[in-house]
């Protein structure tokens, strides 16, 4: 379970002054549900998810992940989270198996459990053919599978995906979306960010639309359709974001 309470993140930029990347964002993600954070580039999705994964610290507010506070107990939060994004690359000189084992050990798994877990994941994801191949020699699809194995090795109850299909071909992207669904089916709390409407429509149980660091609306797809009188998610998104966009432009 994830509960964000008034999360804010401000950065100082030499040219632009203070930037509010995330501005008083609150939401809840429940177990066995997929929460989709939908927003354009620079809307604050990555910063929000990085705060939830304790990679960044909030300027104001906090969040609870599996009951642990992201500010007070960041290491416990990370032990309960699997974080995957296109920015989370692999160590090129380790083999796929070594990489997964490394993260298993960092998560405190003992050797017997680790071996069992690695064998299980490698079988499930059909990774045995390249388990001893170095990561810099893997294809994009193999790399994505290895990244998935890394996030799964400690079997975390919460999964955070930051634009996980960005720049991937259709087949690799399908592997990722199938994996996200599987996480939900296994009862995990899932939050993922994207700007691809079709992904949100296909995957998400709850959708939050974020723009300029603010969470403008949230609800199920049906609720959003009803609330905004539009069927197409893209139209709903534009309707919500445009008044604010024109205000910014004025």
């Amino acid at each position: 379970m994830i509960e964000a309470r008034g999360l804010s993140k401000r950065f100082q930029d030499k040219k632009r002054g203070e930037i509010r990347a995330v501005d008083n964002v609150s939401f809840r993600c429940e177990p066995a549900r997929i929460y989709g954070l939908l927003g354009a580039n620079g809307a604050g999705k990555t910063t929000t998810l990085r705060i939830l994964a304790t990679i960044l610290e909030p300027t104001d507010g906090t969040a609870l992940v599996c009951g642990y506070d992201v500010v007070e107990e960041p290491e416990k939060v990370r032990a309960n989270v699997g974080f995957l994004s296109t920015a989370t690359a692999l160590y090129p000189r380790l083999t796929a198996q070594e990489l997964v084992e490394y993260f298993g050990r960092l998560n405190g798994l003992d050797e017997a459990t680790l071996k069992k877990r690695v064998d299980d994941i490698f079988n499930r994801l059909d990774m045995n053919s390249f388990r001893d191949r170095r990561c810099d020699k893997l294809s994009t699809g193999m790399k994505q599978k290895t990244s998935i194995a890394r996030t799964l090795v400690h079997d975390p109850p919460v999964m955070i995906f930051d634009e996980p299909t960005l720049g991937l071909d259709i087949m690799t992207a399908r592997t990722i979306t199938a994996f996200i669904r599987e996480c939900r089916d296994r009862g995990k709390t899932v939050i993922f960010s994207t700007h691809i409407m079709s992904e949100v429509e296909k995957l998400c149980d709850v959708i939050g639309i974020i723009h300029d660091g603010k969470l403008l609306t949230e609800g199920t797809l049906a609720e959003l359709r009803q609330r905004h009188g539009e069927h197409d998610l893209e139209e709903i998104f534009v309707k919500i974001v445009t008044p604010l966009q024109s205000k910014v432009e004025v």
Binding site: L56, K76, Y91, L106
Partner: protein
Amino acid sequence: MNLNAIRIVYSKEFTEWVRDRRTLISTVLVPLLLFPIIMVGFSALAVALVGKAEKETPKIMILGGEDSPQVLENLRKVDYLEIAPYSANWREQISEKEIRAAVDIPPGFQAALGRGDAKTVTIYYYLGELKSSLGADRIEKFLKEYRDEVVKGRLAARNVAASVLTPFDIQQQNVAPPEKVSGATVGGFIGYLVVLLCMTGAMYPAIDLTAGEKERGTMETILSSPISRMDLVLGKFFLVLSAALSTAALSVLSMGISFSLLRHFNASSGSGRGEAEGLLLQLGPRAVAFIFVMALPLAVLFSAVLMTIALFAKSHKEAQSYLTPMTFLVVIPAVASLLPGVELTPKLALVPILNTSLVCKEIMTGTYHWNSIALIFASTCVYASVALFLAFKTFQRESVLFRS
């Protein structure tokens, strides 16, 4: 602090480190091959080149001297010079290395000798060109011998003994043991190299484990794992330190082997006799152990400083541009220790890098000033701790880790 987590990070970094060819070159190959190439290779090459040049009979030209037939006759008689026929473009011939040197016998030289007047004989040569210098030296040798003969003749004509010119002899005698002589001459160089190689050994892994992680996109991956930032920094730091110390250890080992080879080379070529033998370094286990102990806090200092600076960079290239000026900051105090007259004082014992270079020099001469050693070790430990603390703090800064 979680020792197991530090060990896990260290062993992973170690695995990646040994699989990197660039690491093998900078940490293993360079220190292992540098000294044999510099010392044995260059020595052998220099000896061979000088030997070859010495064996050659230099071709020279005589300018003038038509009215000094005796001088010319004597000059033509010596077997260590070959006389080329006169040509007006003799300057060009020297520059083009067709002849090695030319000697200008002034008009009326022989007659002036007879009168007892002093005239100047000029030797023309190509400055900086070995064979030309050897040619000029041989002309000078002939002229000095000829001058001595003239002086002897004049003294004999006046019934004065030749010994009047040398009423007493002067002799210099070394009393310092060979290890002190070698320490004083090449000891400073050892300290300089240990300092420099400690830094170069740490530089590449420091960049790879910080800016390299950012560039490859693995920084976010590792930061999303439950390891604490302190344990992560320490795991990485110990790897950088290992690289620095391995480079220093391999260079000291390579140095020892090189000196043994050089001694063997000199003994077999017969050039290692007498004073020159004293210049060969005696690297005893005690001296090696002490140099290593003194290099330890310095390696900690370098590792922490290099990691901190490299972390600010977004890429290998940017990190290299930050760290290259660091090389000058390290080389300047290290070179200062080589300057004549720069000796270890309580004030200099507090100057980082310079103090370690100077103490290495002292250790190489077999001198152990325990107070200075303790002061240097302690002060370098303090600097190293401050640098390590800065590295921790830098790893906590989001603006540095996610600089875009």
